[in-house]
């Protein structure tokens, strides 16, 4: 390049400015990225600091494994809440897993295009509905159904606000997530594999059973883990139908009190008791750790699998 024309000078000058802009935009973006990534660390540390006071008072083991919850007297036993969370989540997963699995298989393996065109928007709606709406629906439909129809067959009396109701509502909430994860998983299996099996004379279901499900088993486990971590943290809908009774749940028709509900119901009001606040923060920390571990484990499995299938 020579520098005779005026235009060339402009090109050179602007070239410097352009590179500077590029560099600056890059560092601004990098800052934003770093800050947003650091949010994870920040939340973890914040919760840890806040839950320190109660961990100083009592051992973690004692907190997690006793069931006495009398904050005014200084008894903080998290067991009812942890069990409540566990039961609700387990019920939700148990009934949604087969439903999601079969629906996903139907969508990827057996259905025609027009079926997909109807089912996917329906799933989108299900995924997009606010949790409060699920709660309202649970109160209006599931709770009366349990107290009037289902419970009388098994127990003498139930209000309907129960572990079972929470499990059912929660299940429907994670259904679209599970189905979309499964559909993605199954579509990543190469077509040739299925054709190879079908050409050996296997039926479609045999192909699904022996090729698809076997091949994607780690992925299915990972997806379920992800769904569990999502289910553990769901607050409002569960809170509205679970009954909110501090007890070790004895039957499915009893009320329960999961961890998120504990935080939602009490936080913000009970700050006069520092230990109580700290206890609630510990509950948030437990949720955070569970979600963190489950998420990382499942994402790592999914990523490995993705690389293997590629």
């Amino acid at each position: 390049m020579n520098t005779t024309g005026e235009e060339c000078k402009i090109a050179q000058k602007t070239s410097g400015i352009r590179l500077l802009k590029d560099k600056m935009a890059g560092s601004v973006m990098l800052t934003f990225t770093l800050v947003s990534v650091l949010l994870v660390v920040l939340i973890g540390i914040g919760l840890m600091i806040k839950s320190m006071p109660i961990l100083h008072e009592k051992s973690l083991w004692e907190l997690l494994c006793t069931s006495k919850w009398k904050p005014m007297r200084g008894d903080f036993g998290f067991l009812p809440f942890i069990l409540g969370s566990l039961w609700v989540t387990i019920i939700a997963i148990i009934w949604t897993l087969p439903v999601a699995l079969f629906t996903a298989i139907f969508l990827t393996e057996n259905s025609r295009t027009w079926v997909k065109k109807i089912v996917f928007p329906a799933l989108d709606i299900l995924a997009g509905l606010p949790s409060v709406v699920y709660g309202v629906w649970g109160i209006l439909v599931i709770v009366p159904w349990i107290s009037d129809w289902l419970a009388p067959h098994f127990v003498e009396y139930s209000t309907g606000y129960s572990t079972l109701a929470a499990g059912i509502v929660l299940g429907i909430m994670i259904l679209p997530l599970l189905i979309s994860l499964f559909v993605e998983l199954f579509s990543s299996v190469p077509r040739e594999l299925r054709e190879a099996s079908l050409s050996l004379g296997a039926t479609r279901w045999q192909t699904t059973k022996y090729v698809l499900l076997k091949r994607t088993f780690p992925g299915i486990v990972a997806s379920v883990t992800l769904a569990i971590s999502r289910a553990m943290g769901e607050t409002i809908a569960v809170l509205m139908v679970c009954g909110n009774i501090v007890q070790l749940p004895e039957s499915l028709f009893d009320g329960c009190y999961p961890l998120p509900a504990l935080i939602a119901n009490n936080y913000g009001e009970m700050l006069s008791l520092p230990l109580y606040e700290s206890a609630l923060m510990l509950a948030a920390l437990i949720l955070f750790v569970v979600v963190f571990v489950f998420n990382i484990v499942s994402r790592l499995i999914l990523r490995k699998l993705e690389q293997k299938l590629m």
Binding site: M1, N2, E7, A11, Q12, G16
Partner: protein, 290 residues
């Protein structure tokens, strides 16, 4: 040439006034807008280039010279590193993870892989022409004006001249002059490929790097492109990676035969096709493997 990042005295030109006077005097020529110095143009020299991607050695000690104003065809079986060689001439490998480059690439005597090289102005000298046409997501007009705009030409009248000039150069003007402002994605594949060529030419490159530029096209469109190349070689150095030997036979002046990441033989087209020296080249040309 190194451009200082922070020039202490940046003189601000009042661009619009200046452009007007230039236009009135009739100084502006759409094909010489960057005042490229013709006396300094020369060839690309590749010296002992080693490229590895994720620990796999893709190019092994490659040395070659790419002459000016000739069509150089790089031939060889698939996976032999042809495309990688092409991309390394342009430093597009920068955006792939795990790439290690050792060796030298000299473009007009400028070392491409030296630290602190300002790559954008070297890239401007090399038009890339990819396998599948890749129009940018904007109108036909903007596709061609884009390169000029980023290099500082914003005057509407000048841009009009540039767009017209280069669309005529690739024989697309008559076909699209009515719909310059429709999205480029709506053109046919052959037209898109010529548009990409026009877009590349509009920033006044000295080299054209084409990666199997005709493999996605129908025979008629690819004939058009080949004819264009034959015309363009009077002004540009063209590097063409190709799968089809027949195409190389038709248009190549100079041929580089690669196998397993190494240059087996290089020379003028006549010499390689009529009288290959190496056994591998003979076998490849005879169609023993491909």
């Amino acid at each position: 040439m190194n451009i200082p990042l922070l020039n202490k005295k940046i003189k601000w030109y009042n661009r619009s006034d200046w452009n007007e006077t230039e236009l009135k005097k009739g100084f502006f020529r759409p094909d010489q807008k960057f005042c490229t110095d013709d006396s300094r143009r020369s060839n690309i020299v590749v010296e002992h280039l080693n490229v590895s991607i994720q620990e796999n050695l893709i190019l092994k000690d490659v040395s070659a010279t790419i002459p000016d104003r000739k069509i150089t065809c790089i031939i060889g079986p698939s996976g032999c590193g042809k495309s990688t060689l092409l991309k390394s001439l342009n430093r597009l490998l920068d955006y792939t993870e795990g790439v290690k480059v050792a060796g030298k690439v000299l473009v007009d005597g400028e070392e491409l892989y030296a630290p602190g090289v300002e790559i954008t102005h070297i890239r401007r000298k090399m038009g890339l022409f990819s396998q599948r046409p890749c129009p940018l997501p904007m109108s036909i007009y903007d596709n061609i004006a884009y390169g000029c705009r980023i290099h500082g030409i914003r005057n509407r009248k000048k841009l009009n001249m540039v767009v017209r000039h280069y669309l005529q150069a690739v024989g697309l003007w008559e076909e699209v002059k009515e719909r310059l402002h429709t999205p480029a994605g709506r053109m046919s594949i052959g037209q898109q490929q010529r548009l990409c060529l026009a877009r590349g030419l509009a920033v006044e490159p000295q080299f054209i790097l084409a990666d199997e530029a005709t493999s996605a096209l129908d025979p008629i469109s690819s004939k058009t492109i080949e004819d264009l190349f034959l015309k363009l070689k009077e002004e540009y150095a063209i590097v063409l990676v190709t799968h089809t030997l027949r195409q190389a036979l038709r248009i190549a002046d100079y041929v580089i035969f690669m196998y397993m990441g190494e240059i087996i033989e290089a020379g003028s087209a006549e010499q390689i096709f009529k009288n290959p020296q190496k056994e591998l080249t003979q076998k490849y040309l005879a169609g023993v493997f491909s």
